[in-house]
């Protein structure tokens, strides 16, 4: 039933990417190098994780699983940071993004493993690692978007924020609108994919399970579970990021404190 892919099958798909790169090079669209690097990274990283998962599934040592999980979270935190046009100075940026990923992905995965799926043991790597990975991948996008929107808008709307402070509003009131907009920016991708699921798109995990021979209805149940986890995780993650960053944007006298930001990064 399950058709295995050969190296030849994959190289056929790689030819498509290669052709796209050449076309964009010919048209001077300037994406060729990034595309090739990303394609090479995805091949290498996925092959590596394939090997890691193989040993991981065989070992089922909790320390090893936690090590892999913390590496995944730190890398995701780093990726969030490198998507920001303006960053907080020092370790604040990394600390806030990683911290919120911990809340949004790690804790939600734990909850799901122990209460919903009830895997035995709860840290069974076959469940824990793919679930965590899927959550991280999605919440990462939401958090990066929300964070970027908050800081950029605060920067651009400085006169409005200061005007609101002059009118005697609290720092919280003065950024309330900007925070609401940032929350929206962070949540739109997952809300869209929940709304389009099944009608426009068949989500990746569900498709994977069906390709691997699982009954469609069983695959659907898992997908619904994942969607709910991702949306609540993203929401929690974005909320904690917005809360922490808006605290950091003001000092104890409710003044805007842009000296805590690094210069713009293009």
């Amino acid at each position: 039933m399950f058709i295995e892919l050969s190296a030849f099958d994959l190289s056929l798909a790689a030819i498509l990417v290669l052709a796209l790169g050449m076309l964009s090079g010919y048209m001077r669209l300037g994406i060729t190098k990034q595309l090739y690097i990303a394609a090479a990274r995805t091949t290498l990283q996925l092959l590596l994780i394939g090997l890691v998962l193989k040993t991981l599934f065989a070992s089922s040592s909790i320390a090893f699983i936690m090590l892999i999980a913390s590496i995944m979270i730190s890398v995701a935190g780093w990726e969030i940071l490198s998507r920001q046009q303006r960053k907080l100075k020092g370790w604040w940026g990394f600390g806030i993004s990683t911290g919120s990923l911990f809340v949004s992905s790690f804790l939600i995965t734990l909850l799901c493993l122990s209460v919903v799926i009830q895997a035995d043991p709860w840290y069974s790597p076959q469940y824990a690692i793919p679930l965590l990975g899927m959550l991280l991948g999605n919440t990462m996008t939401g958090i990066a978007l929300g964070m970027d929107r908050l800081i950029q808008n605060a920067w651009q709307q400085r006169p409005v924020i200061e005007q609101r402070l002059m009118l005697g509003q609290t720092a919280d009131e003065a950024v309330a609108d900007i925070r609401r907009e940032a929350m929206r920016a962070g949540m739109i991708p997952i809300i869209n994919s929940m709304a389009a699921a099944g009608l426009v798109s068949l989500p990746g995990m569900m498709t994977g399970q069906i390709l691997a021979g699982a009954a469609p209805v069983e695959a659907v149940k898992y997908q619904i579970l994942i969607m709910f986890m991702i949306s609540s995780g993203t929401g929690l993650g974005v909320i904690s990021v917005l809360w922490l960053i808006s605290k950091r944007l003001f000092d104890e006298r409710e003044r805007l404190c842009f000296k805590r930001l690094l210069k713009e990064n293009h």
Binding site: E162, Q163, L165, M166, G168, T170, A171, D177, R255
Partner: protein, 199 residues
């Protein structure tokens, strides 16, 4: 209020600055561009970092929450910002027709879209918006720079009436010495970071 006092105020390269204001008093403030006039007002409203003791009656600036202080010591900046679609949304309370007329507006001006306001209209409506907090100290940063003679006159009278009725005081920044002589009891000039008494 009875007194607003500034003691040993220092910010950036400016200071030390000492100043006392009584109820209903207006102090005029002038100085070259970049001399620190706006910075001084921002420090008094606690919008910029500064050192020194600033007191309203017996309340020390640093002992109450910053937003409460700014409701009492209110800054009207040289350019006001408007972020909602209509003027009325920026007002927390209903503004009386009487106040609007006194500043030269017709009754419907609160329903204007903010996009159609001229800079002079923004300054006058900005004053009304700020006074809704009933501040004890007004910090006015070149408030009539964009107003014609008639509206300047309305603005000045409106502020002076307010100060009398609320027994509040004001620091008025302007480049127009004639104006300052007309409305203020004392005038100071900022030069090399310190206040020099003009009259």
């Amino acid at each position: 209020m009875n007194s607003f006092s500034i003691e040993n105020l220092q910010f950036l390269h400016c200071g030390p600055i000492d100043l006392q204001l009584k109820a209903t008093e207006i102090i005029g403030l002038s100085g070259a561009s970049g001399s620190g006039k706006s910075r001084l007002l921002r420090a008094l409203a606690d919008l910029d970092e500064h050192k020194g003791i600033i007191q309203l009656d017996n309340i020390n600036q640093q002992t109450i929450a910053a937003h409460l202080w700014r409701q009492k010591v209110a800054l009207l900046s040289a350019e006001t910002s408007w972020w909602f679609d209509t003027v009325a949304e920026h007002f927390t309370k209903q503004e009386s027709a009487e106040n609007l007329t006194a500043l030269g507006f017709a009754g419907d001006s609160l329903h204007w879209s903010v996009a159609r306001m001229s800079s002079g209209e923004k300054q006058r409506l900005g004053l009304l918006r700020l006074l809704q907090n009933k501040p004890d100290v007004l910090l006015l940063d070149e408030p009539t720079a964009n107003l014609d003679k008639h509206n300047t006159c309305l603005f000045e009278n409106y502020v002076m009436d307010y100060l009398r009725n609320q027994s509040a005081c004001a620091i008025w920044v302007s480049h127009d010495h004639e104006q300052l002589q007309k409305i203020s009891q004392r005038e100071y000039k900022i030069e090399d970071g310190i206040l020099i008494n003009v009259y």
